[in-house]
């Protein structure tokens, strides 16, 4: 399956971009996307560390790391928030 990632806040800074596409095996879950990002060659160490603190959203809803992904999914990568 192919999904689109969107990076927000400091995650975008560490990734050096606002988003990217990621290809994963069918049946992949959010935690598999995190694993793929964190273990691929060239992953910035800051991003790898930040992913541990991030929340994830699919279709404008926060999801757990065991949530199922699907082809065409838009996965938001949301670092800790600091509004107000």
């Amino acid at each position: 399956m192919k999904l689109k990632l969107r990076y927000w806040g400091v995650a975008a800074r560490f990734a050096g971009r606002d988003g990217e596409e990621l290809t994963l095996p069918d049946g992949a879950r959010v935690q598999d996307a995190i694993l793929a990002l964190a273990t691929r060659p060239g992953c910035p160490p800051d991003l790898r560390e930040e992913l541990a603190r991030c929340a994830f959203a699919l279709e404008d809803a926060l999801v757990r790391r065991d949530a199922a992904l699907y082809d065409g999914a838009l996965l938001d990568v949301l670092p800790p928030v600091s509004g107000g």
């Binding site: 806040g9 757990r64 600091s82 107000g84």
Partner: protein, 164 residues
């Protein structure tokens, strides 16, 4: 940037604004004849953080998620504290020192529940709305302020993002 490009062409935003926040419409919208109390919080941009001078801020937000989460906070505040109305609006984009970053308004019959509800609405927005603050310093550098983890299953240990 994700935040601004997503705003164009989307539905009107009730809870985030790239323009300077307007207080009068919030007061008019929440006015109720049965209310004897109106509690207001305004969060403004300060010129320092942890001992460093700050020149300005940039707030970014996930627009659609922010809208639904702040709407839920308003509703929950009204229900939990039995107040008559609650509105929260947060600014995004570049803000200078002294500009208003957030307005929260609560109206109720009496002041005690208005104060308590207001505090809840502001704290919940800070902790749960997908908004990020980037502070800029006199040397031109910037950093994102460390904040609250939104993950419903909590953060994993630092450095163990790859753990199953």
């Amino acid at each position: 940037m994700n935040d601004l490009s997503d705003l164009s062409g989307s539905a009107p935003q009730r809870h985030i604004s790239a323009q300077p926040l307007q207080l009068e419409p919030l007061l008019a919208e929440t006015e109720r004849p049965e209310c004897g109390a109106m509690a207001l919080f305004a969060g403004t941009v300060r010129n320092h953080h942890e001992g460093r001078a700050v020149t300005h801020l940039i707030y970014t937000a996930h627009p659609s998620l922010c809208e639904s989460i702040i709407a839920a906070i308003e509703q929950e505040t009204v229900q939990r504290f039995a107040v008559d109305s609650c509105r929260v609006v947060h600014r995004i984009g570049s803000l200078g020192i002294g500009e208003v970053a957030i307005y929260a308004v609560v109206r109720s019959a009496h002041r005690a529940e208005a104060f308590a509800a207001l505090r809840h609405a502001v704290d919940a927005t800070k902790h749960r709305a997908p908004i990020w603050k980037e502070e800029f310093f006199p040397d031109g550098s910037s950093q994102f302020v460390t904040g609250c983890c939104l993950a419903p299953d909590g953060a994993t240990e630092p450095g163990s993002a790859h753990a199953p």
